[in-house]
């Protein structure tokens, strides 16, 4: 069964670019344009394994969203994909196992690195 990844970003073109690349790698992708959509999808419990999470969303702060998603499904893994260069995971997220190496800055000049990180997290 192919890994299932949820891309959470309010920029549709960005989601499209990422998902195309991941699909070419044989990764199953779903997309959420807001925190509410992401939580709804996670509640359906349809086999999501990993979230690629933008930190600035229209309805909820990315850090908060990660905590809420974790509550819904503690097995979910996270990669941060953010536009602010100075982002560093706060302690609350570090306790979930999210570290600096799970943070990717936009623009992602090599999506191959993101794929490597997905494989690393899901094969741990």
């Amino acid at each position: 069964m192919s890994p299932r990844v949820l891309i959470i970003d309010d920029e549709p073109a960005l989601c499209a670019g990422l998902s195309s690349f991941l699909e070419d790698e044989g990764i199953g992708v779903q997309i959420a344009a807001s925190g509410a959509e992401a939580l709804a999808l996670a509640e359906q419990n349809n086999g999501l394994q990993l979230c690629i999470l933008d930190m600035r969303l229209p309805d909820i702060d990315g850090n908060q969203l990660a905590l809420r998603l974790h509550q819904l499904d503690p097995s979910l893994r996270f990669l941060i994909h953010t536009g602010s260069a100075a982002y560093s995971p706060p302690d609350s997220l570090q306790r979930l196992g999210i570290s600096e190496r799970d943070v990717f800055s936009k623009p992602l000049l090599d999506m191959g690195l993101l794929v490597d990180a997905i494989k690393r997290l899901l094969h741990d």
Binding site: G17, G83, M111
Partner: protein, 533 residues
């Protein structure tokens, strides 16, 4: 003819006439009568007061003992010369000499001597006018003058006194040492002849005196060491007294202007930083779309991806032909161009974001020598085939004179600064046309609470205009596309704002460039309170 051969007769000559005695007795100046050998025969009360002797003490003694020792030796000879050849040194003339009081103290006096030859009497009369008070006043005047000169000499400004027409009357040391002087200062010269750059102050001197108010001209640009310097010129009218005039005060404010320029510089960076922080997210998103689009384009046009081959088969498309087509039409070059553009834009955003980070949380004690070596290792991998420049061709000299090389810094940030300076030097030297070996000298030395780091290259150097703007954001001398114009400005920001150090450059065309950085050894007090945002 009377007979004046007896002393008694001579004494009577001086004293017999009551009117003469009254005049002599009431005179304010000392009056002394002597015979032709110099023996005192008359000594008036003013002389008693002046020399401190009673008349009885001195009558019959030689008058020379009333003079200072240096006059005594030749006094007898004077008299003889005069009597034999009528050569007068003081007789009938008068001059300033030094008298000696009974207590041995000396004092200045004006002595005039007259000759008396009446009815067979022959003698001389001396009138001594005390000059002590005058001398004391003169001395006081000299002391006051000197004090005033000392006061104006100790002023940190150039001070020049002028009359109403602008003729120089006074000046202080700084004024005389002024390097822009067209000719040496001289009383009576018009001020613009000595200071050509003050020509337009002449009318202001007139106005200041006429209207009795201070006129200030600020930030006048003047030549200074081959570049532009700045002075403030103030014209103060003198309180109207005996003669109208003014005092001109000139302050060299070049350093202050430079500091202000630097502060404006920092302000610029801060506003760039503020803008960048707000915009970064907005710009990075579209950049991400472009970057990802390029990667997807490349991959989905490749014959290597199984999914591509599968779809092509279904559609009856020869992917190998597509690849050849794209190669011949240079399609990948365009895609690569877009990718490089994105990478550059993203680097600019990242650099601008540095300005918005006031302090780094990762300050730690660091060996500066170690940091320099690490950076040199990093830089040595740096070479550019396109521009035929290879860091390994550069001779690197290290001059370390440090008591202790530990500083409190953000290691990554200082490494970034050093790498930037070293790369710039390397690139500058590769641009120089001279044939000599490119050479980079790195000097580390103690500088009080700082460590001083100098990076000197023997490249082409830079002109004054470039040197002034070198730390400005988006200022670059590199060809379009090779530099963002942010490197040195980021370095400046890291050193000044984050580390409370200083960074400046010394350079002239043909003389290479030397960047001088001072980094504090100890943490600055506010660093612990400032949280990184």
């Amino acid at each position: 003819m009377k007979d004046f051969s007896s002393p008694a007769a001579r004494v009577r000559f001086w004293n017999d006439d009551p009117r003469v005695k009254a005049i002599v007795g009431s005179a304010a100046d000392g009056i002394i009568g002597i015979d032709t050998r110099g023996m005192i025969e008359m000594f008036n009360p003013a002389a008693e007061k002046l020399f401190g002797y009673n008349a009885d003490d001195v009558i019959g003694r030689n008058v020379k003992y009333l003079a200072a020792p240096e006059y005594q030796r030749d006094h007898d000879q004077y008299l003889r010369n005069y009597l034999e050849s009528a050569t007068a040194k003081v007789i009938g003339i008068g001059r300033e000499v030094k008298g000696q009081r009974k207590d041995g103290s000396l004092f200045p006096m004006y002595l005039s001597v007259g000759e008396i030859k009446i009815d067979g009497f022959h003698g001389f009369v001396g009138i001594a006018h005390d000059l002590s008070a005058l001398h004391a006043a003169r001395q006081q005047l000299a002391v006051t003058g000197e004090l005033l000169q000392n006061i104006i000499d100790s002023m940190p400004s150039i001070i020049i006194g002028v009359d109403a027409e602008g003729h120089i009357t006074h000046w202080n040391q700084l004024a005389a040492a002024e390097p822009r002087l067209a000719q040496p200062l001289e009383v009576g010269q018009r001020i613009d002849q000595c200071y050509p750059h003050l020509t337009n102050q002449l009318s202001r001197i007139e106005t200041a005196i006429l209207e009795q108010r201070t006129l200030v001209s600020q930030r006048i640009s003047v030549p200074r060491d081959g570049e532009v310097g700045y002075v403030d010129v103030m014209v103060y009218p003198l309180a109207q007294g005996a003669s109208a005039g003014a005092v001109i005060r000139i302050d060299d404010i070049t350093e202050r202007v430079r500091i202000e320029e630097m502060m404006i510089q920092t302000e610029k960076m801060m506003s760039v930083g503020g803008l960048a922080a707000g915009m970064a997210h907005e710009i990075n998103n579209p950049l991400g779309i472009i970057a990802q689009g390029c990667q997807n384009l490349t991959r989905r046009l490749s014959a290597e991806l199984p999914q591509n081959r599968q779809l092509a088969d279904e559609l009856g498309l020869d992917l190998a032909l597509v690849e050849r087509y794209m190669e011949q039409r240079g399609i990948h070059r365009f895609i690569d161009g877009i990718s490089e553009g994105v990478a550059r834009a993203s680097q600019i955003i990242a650099d601008m974001l540095t300005y918005s980070r006031r302090s780094a949380s990762s300050f730690e004690p660091t060996s500066l020598v170690g940091l320099v070596e690490t950076t040199l290792r990093l830089a040595s991998h740096d070479y550019d085939l396109k521009r035929n420049y290879d860091f390994r061709k550069i001779r690197v000299l290290r001059e370390v004179a440090l008591s202790d090389d530990e500083i409190w810094c953000d290691r990554t940030a200082i490494e970034q600064v050093l790498l930037n300076l070293i790369r710039n030097a390397a690139q500058a030297m590769s641009r120089g046309e001279q044939q000599r070996t490119p050479q980079l000298t790195i000097r580390l030395s103690d500088d009080g609470p700082y460590i001083r780091v100098e990076l000197a290259d023997n490249g082409p150097g830079m002109d004054g205009e470039t040197r002034k703007r070198i730390f400005e954001p988006f200022f670059t001398t590199k060809p379009v596309g090779e530099g963002t114009g942010l490197g040195l400005s980021v370095a400046y920001f890291i050193v000044h704002e984050q580390h409370r150090g200083s960074l400046r450059v010394e350079s002239a065309p043909g003389r290479g460039s030397c960047f001088v950085m001072r980094l504090p050894r100890a943490p600055h007090t506010s660093s612990s309170q400032e949280a990184s945002s």
